[in-house]
């Protein structure tokens, strides 16, 4: 076997584990320890309190919707940016990263101003019966905004990798556009699409800054769990805050694990090839 460029397996793995422990595992462990000051019954009470449950529903529900929206439109954006040339393409390409760079509070304030009853967009939506700002819809708008780059940036290199010849090959063989997309293109980009979706979803779950400005933060309706945690912290209920945080952590971790498992299964099916090459 050829010698690796990077330092050997043992050193590499050791560093990786140490690094992950310091950066990720340690703070999370501290969180869990802190919440362990509560008895099981107290923990259960906080975790299943009506307001907490409602906030979890809002948080995970709107994050899911936002990630789904971005999966669809992010795919379209990535496709257009890779496959077509048009004036201002570089500018549009740069635009995609903007939600990364903008402080989320700025995004929240901007969106709230736009969608408020007297804002540029809200003014036209309100008479039609759509209220966006200060409702759960507003949360979805904010989360869609901040998680857009994840899907686009994950898909772009994968789409670049698909030669246009592949589509031509499918067409010559008699496949319709829809068949080409469903049978040839989608399977090729699905793993990346799921990765992008997962990243967008996790980012949206953790979002705080932009949401609090546009959500209205009404308990049971448009209050997200991160806000509830901050509220508890402000009342010096640190243990209560950590309990909620642990609940979020467990749910997020379970979801990510499930998505990853799905992806492993797909990768194994499609390129049993790669492994045996």
């Amino acid at each position: 076997m050829a010698r690796n460029v990077l330092p050997g397996f043992r050193l590499g793995l050791g560093y990786t584990l140490l690094y992950l422990s310091l950066i990720v595992l340690l703070p999370l462990a501290a969180l869990v320890f802190k919440s362990a000051e509560l008895s099981a019954a107290q923990f259960w009470d906080i975790a299943t309190g009506e307001r907490a449950l409602a906030s979890l529903r809002v948080t995970f529900g709107s994050a899911l919707i936002a990630a789904l929206i971005n999966a669809a439109f992010g795919l379209l954006t990535a496709w257009v940016l890779v496959r077509y040339t048009f004036p201002g393409k570089r500018f549009v390409d740069a635009l995609v990263d903007l939600p990364f760079a903008l402080p989320t509070a700025v995004a929240g304030i901007t969106l709230a101003t736009l969608y408020a009853g007297n804002g540029w967009i809200g003014r036209h939506l309100e008479p039609l019966g759509f209220k966006v700002a200060f409702t759960p819809v507003g949360i979805v708008v904010a989360l869609t905004f901040i998680s857009l780059p994840f899907v686009v940036r994950t898909l772009q290199p994968v789409i670049e990798d698909i030669e246009p010849e592949i589509e031509e090959a499918a067409a010559v063989l008699g496949a319709s556009r829809w068949q080409t997309f469903r049978l040839v293109l989608l399977p090729a980009i699905l793993p990346a699409l799921i990765t992008g979706f997962t990243l967008a979803f996790s980012r949206a779950i953790g979002e705080y800054g932009s949401v609090i400005f546009i959500a209205g933060n009404m308990p049971f309706i448009s209050e997200i769990t991160p806000l509830l945690i901050v509220a508890k912290l402000e009342q010096y209920d640190i243990v209560g805050a950590t309990a909620l945080a642990v609940v979020m952590l467990v749910i997020s971790f379970a979801l990510l694990l499930a998505v990853n498992a799905l992806q492993w299964r797909m990768a194994n099916r499609h390129s049993a090839a790669g492994a045996r090459r």
Partner: protein
């Protein structure tokens, strides 16, 4: 199925890719489109396939208008230079693809699909690879799978775009013989694009030599090689020495220039293996000095200088041994076969050699 191409033209911006092409491809023939890169051969192939639409002109399949038929409806098989196999499908599924996407009422049953795909994989001698993925195959195997996939929909025409271009020399030679045999077996009208003259001459029934969007010559491999219609064809098909009659007055006489053509206006084309090297001067021979002697496989390549000009001569090993040439020797050259074209305007033929 026969293909007729009538007055096809295509431009990309200011670049003329195809300039009024007329071409007939009789049913069942294997035709090579041969030319340097940028000569329009691939564009022509893609227009026949319907992947590109011509600016003007017509494509007829079996006498029927097909110019505006969609790729899907042309019933052609297309083989790409870089295979274009579907990476996430097994070899079997790749070949079955064309059958599976047929509308429900035309689609064969699962058993029928299985039978046909297996037959095709046997035809390309790769049935043992059915469950593999494309990334597990060698280049030559991938191209054979691509061919099987193209044949699965029972196309009336098979189009191949530089099918062996991405393969190494040995595999390439093997595959082109194999393609020839396959064509003799299946007997489907086929057009393949190549820039490799050896490939075209070996495989095709007829060769279409193209240059700068035009057809230079159409003929059997033997015709285009031994009777090139233009200086371009001469240069493109194999090595050639070009003699300017102005500089090589002695030779211009043997060439028997036609009436009205002044020496100095003509170019004489002589292939390296059509020149004899002699130790002694004879009437009409050209003095030269040996510069290099390379033994390449079965033949010996001699580079000679006549004044400031370089002449290449190819000898058999026996002849070279008999002559015993070495660098600096003074020798005389005699042409066996010469073809003369007017120097300007290019392409006009004045007469042919001895």
């Amino acid at each position: 199925m026969s293909i007729e191409i009538r007055g096809i033209g295509k431009r990309f911006g200011n670049f003329v890719a195809l300039d009024n092409i007329d071409l007939d491809i009789p049913s069942g023939e294997l035709v090579a489109l041969l030319g340097p890169s940028g000569c329009g051969k691939t564009t022509l192939l893609r227009i026949i396939a319907g992947m590109e639409s011509p600016d003007h002109g017509q494509v007829l399949f079996e006498g029927e208008e097909a110019t505006h038929l969609h790729v899907r409806e042309r019933k052609v098989g297309f083989v790409f230079q870089h295979y274009a196999l579907f990476r996430h499908m097994t070899v079997f599924e790749n070949v079955a693809f064309g059958l599976r996407v047929k509308p429900r009422h035309e689609r064969p049953s699962e058993a029928e699909i299985r039978r046909r795909v297996t037959d095709l994989l046997k035809l390309v001698q790769l049935d043992w690879l059915a469950e593999r993925y494309p990334s597990q195959l060698s280049g030559g195997q991938r191209q054979r799978i691509a061919l099987a996939r193209a044949l699965a929909v029972e196309p009336k025409v098979l189009l191949l775009d530089e099918p062996f271009g991405a393969l190494d020399t040995r595999v390439r030679k093997e595959l082109r013989r194999w393609l020839r045999r396959l064509h003799d077996e299946v007997h489907i009208s086929s057009v393949f694009v190549t820039h490799d003259q050896e490939e075209a001459l070996e495989v095709a029934d007829r060769v279409v030599v193209m240059n700068q969007g035009r057809i230079e010559q159409i003929g059997t491999p033997d015709e285009v090689y031994s009777r090139p219609a233009s200086p371009f064809v001469y240069r493109f098909l194999g090595d050639v020495n070009v003699f300017h009659s102005r500089l090589h007055g002695a030779w211009a006489e043997i060439n028997r220039l036609p009436e009205g053509a002044h020496a100095g206006e003509a170019l004489a084309f002589i292939r390296p293996h059509d020149i004899d090297i002699e130790r002694f001067e004879q009437a009409g021979s050209l003095a030269a000095r040996v510069q290099e002697v390379h033994a390449i496989g079965p033949s010996v390549r001699v580079e000679l200088a006549h004044g400031s000009e370089l002449i290449e001569v190819e000898l058999t090993r026996e002849r070279a041994n008999a002559l015993g040439l070495s660098r600096g020797d003074q020798v005389w050259l005699r042409p066996r076969q010469v073809r003369v074209f007017a120097a300007e305007p290019a392409g006009e033929e004045f007469g042919s050699g001895i």
